[in-house]
């Protein structure tokens, strides 16, 4: 890898995708949903983690490179995969513990990493409805490390979500996931937004770094959270994109990013709704 030279011309959104991609290791098997998770996965595969295996919900297991698809299942994301099967098969891989890393979006997220993709307010009489779990619950329930990527705003980052679609650490007390019957050694490990990066310490979202390089301040981060967030002792500025990362990101993601997702009538891409 070339010597690190940091880029200067990038947005907070670019930082979010690139920071997410960095979470993927070369040896990982990564379950990616549509949207930002897919962009992070494809970027990692094109840059530093060319050996990682990408799992796509509809039955795709691929170790080989592929162009970023308009949706998760396209002829491009299917063709030349190492294995094609179905949704049941790839989720069994996950449930049995063979998917190291999950990437997902979300509607709301709370202090303990629980994600709501279902309803704002009361389920029976909601203020707003999202399309529901999709594969989100499965990813969060099964994957070794789950990384949530979503744009940060106060009304989406809550002390407690209105509806727990994809369980994080529930109320944060130890052992709650195991008590519920979720597989051991699973759960969210990071939240990556357009403002900051969070890890989980004692099952609580903890601010690790602020995207200072694109002008984000700690105050701005705090303003877009609904609770008094725990801050890591060694809080840092987020490492900016390197020039090389930005080059690959521009070429493989931005240039190929679908301007408009074509969908069949009634059909929707899988996974939770992208935060927008």
């Amino acid at each position: 890898m070339p010597e690190k030279k940091y880029a200067t011309d990038y947005t907070a959104f670019d930082q979010m995708v690139i920071s997410a991609a960095r979470m993927i290791k070369n040896t990982d098997t990564v379950y990616v949903g549509v949207g930002l998770p897919m962009q992070a996965g494809v970027l990692a595969k094109n840059y530093h983690a060319s050996n990682c295996t990408i799992i796509i919900e509809n039955g795709i297991v691929r170790a080989s490179l592929f162009p970023i698809p308009r949706a998760t299942d396209t002829l491009g994301s299917q063709s030349y995969a190492e294995q094609l099967s179905g949704l049941f098969y790839v989720n069994c891989l996950a449930q049995a513990g063979y998917i190291t890393t999950g990437f997902m979006g979300g509607g709301q997220i709370d202090r303990h990493g629980n994600v709501n993709d279902t309803a704002v307010g009361d389920y029976r009489n909601p203020i707003h409805r999202w399309p529901g779990s999709g594969g989100g619950n499965d990813v969060m329930s099964f994957c070794g490390r789950t990384i949530v990527i979503l744009e940060q705003s106060k009304r989406r980052f809550l002390e407690k979500v209105d509806f727990n679609t994809c369980p994080g650490y529930f109320d944060g007390k130890p052992g709650r996931r195991e008590e519920a019957g979720l597989p051991p050694n699973t759960g969210p490990v990071a939240v990556i937004t357009d403002l900051a990066i969070y890890s989980f310490e004692d099952r609580e979202m903890t601010l690790r770094s602020v995207h200072a390089g694109c002008g984000v301040t700690l105050q701005k981060v705090k303003d877009e959270l609904s609770w008094d967030v725990r801050i890591a002792k060694d809080l840092k500025d987020t490492e900016p994109p390197t020039e090389e990362e930005m080059r690959v990101y521009q070429e493989k993601i931005v240039a190929a990013r679908p301007s408009f997702t074509i969908q069949p009538p009634g059909g929707r891409p899988p996974g939770p709704p992208a935060a927008r």
Binding site: E57, N58, G59, I60, A71, T72, D73, T74, L75, Q78, S79, Y80, L84, S85, G86, L87, F88, N91, Q95, T118, Y123, H128, R129, W130, P131, G132, S133, G134, G135, G136, N137, D138, M140, S141, F142, F163, N164, T165, C166, P167, F170, R177, E178, E179, A180, G181, L182, P183, F260, I262, Q263, P264, P265, G266, G267, R268, P269, P270, G271
Partner: protein, 299 residues
Amino acid sequence: MSSKVMTMSEAISKNVKSGDLLFIGGAQHGSPSAAVHEIVRQKIDHLTIIALLANTGLLVSEGLVDTVLTGYYQLDEKRSYQLQRARALGKFPRFVEYSHFGIAQALQAGYMGVPFMPTRSQIGSDMLKYNENIISIDDPFGTGKIGLVKAVVPDVGILHVQRCDAEGNAQRWGTLGVDHEGINASKKIIITTEKIVDGDVIRRDPNRTIISGFRVNAVVEQPFGAYPVHLAGCYNDGPGAIGMMTSEEAYNAYMQAAVWGVKDWNEYLENLKKVNGPDFLDKIKIQNPAKSDPVITGI
């Protein structure tokens, strides 16, 4: 011997009844669009549908659906003309929500002939509060909590495939979504196929058969039967589906073109070519085909 081969109209009218629970295959890939449009044309109502990213929205907007079993559905009425229309008709369906894997497991249990499937998905969520088909129990083998998803056994399963013989031995490839579980779980089965092939083609690649003829009630040859959804080895997504759901005007125009104004799917396809040019469908065909190496069997 080939009494199973029939028109789409016959296949639907003979096998789909008011009140049926339908499995409609092709989650995100190769949905049986032509068959769904024929159900609309025949106005078969009070359906329960399993909607896993397949092309089933028209059934809802036409007021034909009582219940939707789903893992993901556009439930924001402000953004969904389909739901607005169902509401206006007084036919807003009941939604029963699972995760995607939950739907797959319910169908797997149906395919296996057992009352439930054990699961570790969904049990950590609030979905259990509102969906009585998912429960959490203590594992009798002592490993702690485990979820159970209740079996779903569709009355009718409809699958679109690349090739099928006249007896209904059907082969499908590319991503399979929940097709294997869903079609094998179904009591009656309709196969729509791009092409009816000789049985010998099937028998020289028997591992690819997703459902055997003895389980199949109807076989319909329907080229571009999944349009505008892509189908591996056949065609890419068509442009036709965009925007049709955003207004009453666009919706009505689409319904006139695809359902009410034509006698069948083939007439709709012909009209598409008249409007968009004779090469309209050719343009979405596979441009860079990859051919599999043959596999050998025999004695």
